[in-house]
Symmetry: C2
């Protein structure tokens, strides 16, 4: 891995390089996606089945688009029982962590009869997209579905592309069953997103679409935003490690590679104040890259988006981390908690030497669907609030309104909205 | 106003009619907006100043694009002191209501050294768009800025178009000053949204853009979503009143008209179980439409999107209200609180005969920036959470990780992610 000095130039270069990976920059696919979306919106099932034949080489129709109970039972036969049990334990942890995020509706009351509050209710129907083929990750199914389940969303559907034989990856089906998905449809790509956004004869219109996907899926989600709610638009995976001389270089190198293996656009960055650590991590990372199974992906990812940055001070390292706003941030220093208090922008923070990033991907409970590409500056990990919405509650008594009715009338008049003023005034004229 | 029977047909017709007003349906403006956005992204200030000359007939440059302290002082001279005080009282109420929405960061701890939680922090920089001309509403300035202020957002900027003389509406400046805006830029339209999304020489890049605007502004916000966070895409205003025979027809008619006056696309709907009330409201609404100042707008809005629906039962009325998911919902019945418990989808609920909708627009404290066009099924009123983001915290001890490391390794292996598995494994090999 390359070692650079952390300067304002190297930081700017790095930020510009990372931002190039944003799914927002793939405008050239927009018109293809827009065609698919309008076609599904207008022609419904017919369009979906055509695209499935074209893109997935699979003939489906209304009679077999839904995964059956028998197919789910078959899937359980194909998955190692030990793994099924691990999935169940992971699901328990995810459920417990997300239950702690639940908020009650609340109401504030005053003596004069004023009641103001927020009613907090789940959305009615959520839709999860799960990629097929090599990108079918059962862990992602758990992470997408369980927050909706904890939010008490009444109906949760899933779409995922079938293979040429019309089958769905067994691990996806088992994870969906463990998480409590109600219906699974064998549809993939932009056509699946459009189906869920607008509804078709077979697929119900949902309120929110979540889940990862390729560039077509990401752009279809953006195109449908507003008709439905979506989670953030996911870019390639990222890890940033802040470490000092106390960190174990083998752990740091291993953790960097755990994200580099995701894909060639993934980014792995170490920022350290220790030159000795920088050199040792570089050596270990290069060695591990050769030993692990996804060597080609790891090497390309490290070449393009892997950095070891040597910082003069820990303050500089922290400032850079806040600017990069990484999806995953590990803090491997003598005082990780103190540094955490200074981190404002990150998807998830992993503290200390026994909190390696895959712990969060699979098991600890916090969601692994995290803001990427600097969007941790304004987006959050997928969470229960994403599946709930608020309604304001406003209730005034005659006494309460009579004290302020002239203020409201004056304000409305000043904006030229006389019918607004009138609606208050009529209550005090009779 | 027309009176119809509430049936599944009339409901479907109404829903389809209302949805036609969605800003999502104005694809024909998309390429114009996309040109403006890319031009500002590439050419920065130069592009902004050109568009301001073209669209606002106003020559601005780097020396005068920012509103000065003197201009704000002048604005105070132009606004009635009584109105300034009303704005301040409204601001206090808005601040108090939004302070009740603040959530603490939290952490959950276990004996074995596990610590899991959420760090909740404000975004760094928020940008508010304020329309110019007739659509400059000081109340909207307060509603957009104060939640960000309560969230402790460090820097809040505003953009608003200048008139041909390079001036900004005085009421906007006073409201911005009361709410605590840090900088105001004289830029409007899609070019202002692009400037805030990407930053230019003069305008800083923000993390989140909120605020209403015309179709160009709405589409520019959607185009920039992902580069920045945005609030929901606002459509025309809506009111739905559920009333029974106990409701005062003058109040109902006045409240319907208070939204109808917003613009010709605004929608005003009464659903009632009382035929007598339906008839009386229809008469009163038509009479008031003639008397109030914005007669032409009100008549067109009522003709196109005004409905009085006669329901067989209160249950039917409630079901329809949940399907329509109105921006504003008034409940004027003998038992408004009981009905409220059955309402899942609405931006804001106004209860009882002294909670007319303009109370919420101007004064009570809850936000008046609300989801429109059925999006209350999944979007929320603007609130403090919109200006905060979450970061997951994950900290395991050696003891805690050693109990589960084999589970994680197995799960990672099953997904073919060997570098993930390795990053856990190396911690238990030495």
């Amino acid at each position: 891995m390359k070692i650079l000095k952390l300067t304002s130039e190297s930081k700017t270069d790095l930020l510009n390089t990372l931002l190039k990976r944003s799914p927002n920059n793939y405008g050239q696919f927009e018109s293809a996606v827009s065609d698919i979306v309008s076609n599904v919106r207008e022609r419904g099932d017919e369009a979906i089945f055509e695209y499935t034949k074209r893109f997935d080489k699979c003939e489906i129709d209304a009679s077999n688009v839904r995964v059956t109970k028998e197919e789910i039972e078959e899937a359980y036969q194909k998955v190692d029982e030990k793994l099924v049990n691990v999935m169940k334990r992971a699901a328990d942890n995810i459920r417990i962590f997300h239950e702690k995020q639940l908020h009650n509706s609340w109401i504030d009351m005053k003596d004069d009869g004023t009641m103001l509050g927020q009613k907090i209710t789940p959305i009615g129907l959520s839709g999860v997209y799960v990629p097929g083929g090599k990108a079918a990750y059962p862990s992602s199914v758990l992470m997408n579905v369980l927050p909706a389940k904890v939010a008490s969303v009444k109906r949760i559907i899933m779409t995922t592309p079938p293979d040429a034989d019309g089958k769905v990856y067994a691990g996806t089906l088992v994870a969906a069953d463990i998480a409590g998905v109600d219906e699974i449809y064998k549809i993939g790509g932009a056509q699946a997103i459009a189906a869920m956004a607008f509804g078709t004869e077979c697929v119900p219109k949902v309120d929110k679409i979540t889940g990862p996907g390729n560039i077509y899926v990401a752009l279809a989600k953006k195109a449908c935003f507003g008709y439905v709610s979506i989670d953030s638009i996911a870019g390639p995976s990222e890890i940033l490690v802040i470490a000092d001389e106390t960190a174990n270089p083998l752990y740091v190198a291993s953790d960097l590679l755990s994200q580099a293996e995701h894909d060639e656009m993934a980014s792995a960055i170490l920022i350290t104040t220790s030159e000795a650590l920088a050199k040792e991590v570089s050596v270990q990372a290069d060695r591990l890259a050769e030993e692990l199974s996804r060597t080609e992906i790891i090497k390309k990812s490290l070449d393009n988006y892997g950095y070891i940055l040597l910082a003069d001070t820990m303050e500089d390292a922290i400032d850079a981390a806040n600017e990069i706003a990484s999806e995953h941030l590990e803090i491997l220093t003598a005082n990780p908690y103190e540094i955490m208090t200074k981190i404002n922008n990150a998807g998830a923070i992993f503290l200390g030497e026994y909190s390696s990033e895959p712990l969060g991907d699979y098991f600890a409970g916090p969601n692994h669907i995290l803001p990427t590409n600097g969007t941790a500056k304004f987006f959050s990990p997928l969470n229960v609030d994403d599946f709930m919405k608020k309604t304001s509650i406003i209730s005034y008594s005659k006494e309460a309104l009579s004290k302020v009715h002239e203020d409201i009338e004056l304000f409305a008049q000043s904006e030229g909205l006389t019918a607004h003023a009138n609606s208050i005034k009529v209550r005090f004229e009779q």
